[in-house]
Symmetry: C2
Subunit: 211 residues, 2 copies
């Protein structure tokens, strides 16, 4: 049975604004409760397909609201954000580099994730463009040629496929998605519930005394 | 241009657990900021169809998570809740009674809404069953025969249709859905953003100093 200091699993996609917002608070929240975070780059396209879902921005009416909510939620959290163009994008190359780092230089994986998310959502760096991603890798301290060799390798492709399959097997159907001791939380807006869960209380309301 | 005390529009469906949770906090939240609430019963089926959406519980993998999240979100908010059976249900009759009250005894409309939501989500009273709904109406002080005459009347049907059409025209695609001075908020989990909005601040984060 997992002990009280189990890591928080944090599933994210590099093209998901709500994942980006969550990436800016999850480490501090976990640390406040003595937890570490296991970052897990996935492809939303794979989980959507497995769950027969589509992106909220693929629906005509919901799209307009969602684009507005991205921007408002960023202001609400105090996180810099600009809707990138193009959006959304394919993120498998950034994700393959993430897992390559996780396997070879674990301490660099989460910083690479934050580097990419911030680049895409604040500087409009197109992570799906090979030249842009190579430049971003170089900026981060990864040799550009090596980066491209990694993301085109069969090993990196298989690794990401395996991770996405495992995520689907664990019931992950969107991003950000968090799992704490088997308890699943979907969405940037489950932050308060995750915090309450980590506090280890009875999860009975005491905060909402206005009810 | 609307003044600072514009009412908060609150769209809900009688078969939506998140609408029920929101119905338990929206009045107090609005009142804290000197606002009233305009309750608006709608049919989620109509807004889903207009927006080409489906209920979250209609998707195989998302369903399991969502049913769990209903229960957890209720505990988080300290609201009594039991998943009703059957769920979801058709809610047009309860909604027609709501609008009939709104038009003839406005002060009774929101209490009727709360009466129905609590009955369905805490006592498993099936609002789609004519006998159960008549008994619930009688309990509330509406003559059971009159209730049935209302919900089968062409006027009540037309009124609800009009309301749903207006909701769709205003961009409502789910429930609960809130509109404050033209600003749309979708979901029970936008409570903190609505509160911040009503505080009238700059909507720049000051609460999340841990970022």
């Amino acid at each position: 049975m997992p002990g009280p200091l189990t890591a928080v699993d944090f599933y994210f996609d590099f093209s998901s604004p709500y994942s980006y917002f969550a990436s800016e608070w999850i480490e501090a929240l976990a640390a406040r409760h003595g937890r570490t975070v296991r970052w897990k780059a996935i492809l939303l396209g794979v989980t959507f397909q497995a769950a027969e879902l589509r992106s909220p921005v693929s629906y005509p009416i919901k799209r307009e609201y969602t684009l507005h909510d991205f921007e408002r939620s960023a202001r609400f959290a105090g996180v810099p954000y600009t809707l990138p163009d193009p959006f959304p994008i394919a993120t498998q190359n950034a994700a393959r580099l993430f897992w390559w780092l996780a396997d070879t230089r674990p301490a660099a994986a989460a910083p690479w994730a934050r580097h990419c998310l911030r680049a895409y959502f604040t500087r409009n760096v197109n992570l799906s463009d090979a030249a842009s991603l190579k430049a971003l890798a170089a900026e981060f301290g990864i040799d550009a040629g090596e980066a491209e060799a990694v993301w085109t390798s069969p090993e990196a492709k298989a690794r990401l496929r395996q991770v996405c399959d495992e995520a689907v097997a664990h019931g992950v159907f969107g991003a950000p998605f968090f799992v704490v001791e088997g308890e699943p939380f979907w969405g940037n807006d489950r932050r308060a519930q995750i915090e309450r869960w980590l506090e280890g209380g009875s999860f009975q309301a005491t905060a909402h005394t206005d009810l």
